[in-house]
């Protein structure tokens, strides 16, 4: 019982670090799911739009962008806070593709992808917080060694 109290105390004491870890993990997972889902949606012609669908985070993780070969896309240029992520597509015809024009039929890829990511029973962020709580407290100076 005493040990249980001690663990609980440690968890609460380190909650800021623990919650930031969990939020970052959840935000990253959500960004990956949205990017992956959006790449399967919408039409493909030259591949530029699909190559440009990407996410960036405020904690140094990014992905989805394919600027290596073929139709080269540019990187999302946006400043974010520590616990934020952004998803977007940098191709110049991304907006007309998503929303359509009076002459061109829309082929939405971003909004359905977000709907897919948020449609699960529990949000990725809530899931990550629960997981982090189960793994116990981090002592000052320690960090998780798993993929994040």
């Amino acid at each position: 019982m005493a040990q249980q109290s001690s663990v609980t105390f440690e968890t609460i004491r380190n909650f800021p670090a623990l919650s930031l870890n969990a939020v970052q993990a959840g935000v990253l997972r959500s960004a990956i799911i949205i990017t992956a889902a959006s790449k399967t949606l919408g039409g493909v012609d030259t591949g530029l739009l699909n190559n440009s669908k990407q996410y960036v985070t405020g904690f140094g993780k990014e992905g989805g962008l394919n600027d290596s070969s073929g139709s080269q896309a540019s990187k999302l240029n946006i400043s974010l806070k520590d616990n934020e992520a952004a998803y977007g597509a940098t191709a110049n015809y991304a907006m007309p593709q998503e929303f359509g024009t009076r002459k061109a039929r829309p082929q939405p890829f971003a909004r359905p992808a977000v709907a897919i990511a948020t449609g699960s029973k529990q949000s990725e962020i809530a899931r990550a917080i629960n997981k982090e709580m189960e793994r116990g407290a981090l002592v000052a100076g320690q960090s998780r060694e798993t993929f994040r």
């Binding site: 007309p96 024009t101 897919i116």
Partner: protein
């Protein structure tokens, strides 16, 4: 019955919305489909379903995006505001209820294209 019928009926019944768009073949240019007729170049409204439909246990939710088109920024703003005011927190036919979000105006991508001001409408139905 994917929400567009209710949205279109509500917009056609609103005199401010009808006055804000033009007429084509004597009818207001409000279309319950993706595209505007190619021969018509005036102010217009089209709509489509952009997100998955949620059947729900008690209420169904449909996501309808209403695109407002005009050559001028000020005109497209006027149409979008009229659409928002006509739909947001109002009831429609078939026991429906609308909740709206007005998105930023999208400028023309090419010369000859129109400004587009999308209004996202969540249609909840029994």
């Amino acid at each position: 019955m994917d929400g567009r019928t209710e949205v279109k009926a509500k917009l056609l019944a609103d005199s401010t919305v009808v006055a804000s768009v033009g007429t084509y073949l004597t009818k207001p240019a409000i279309y319950g489909q993706f595209l505007v007729p190619p021969k018509y170049t005036g102010k217009a409204i089209s709509m489509y379903n952009a997100v998955p439909t949620n059947g729900g246990l008690e209420l169904s939710t449909y996501g309808v995006t209403v695109n407002c088109y005009a050559k001028k920024y000020s005109d497209v703003e006027t149409i979008a505001e009229a659409v928002f005011d006509a739909l947001n927190r109002h009831s429609g036919t078939n026991e429906s209820f609308f909740v709206c979000s007005k998105l930023p105006v999208i400028p023309p991508n090419e010369t000859g294209e129109d400004y587009n001001s999308p209004v996202e409408v969540l249609v909840r139905k029994k």
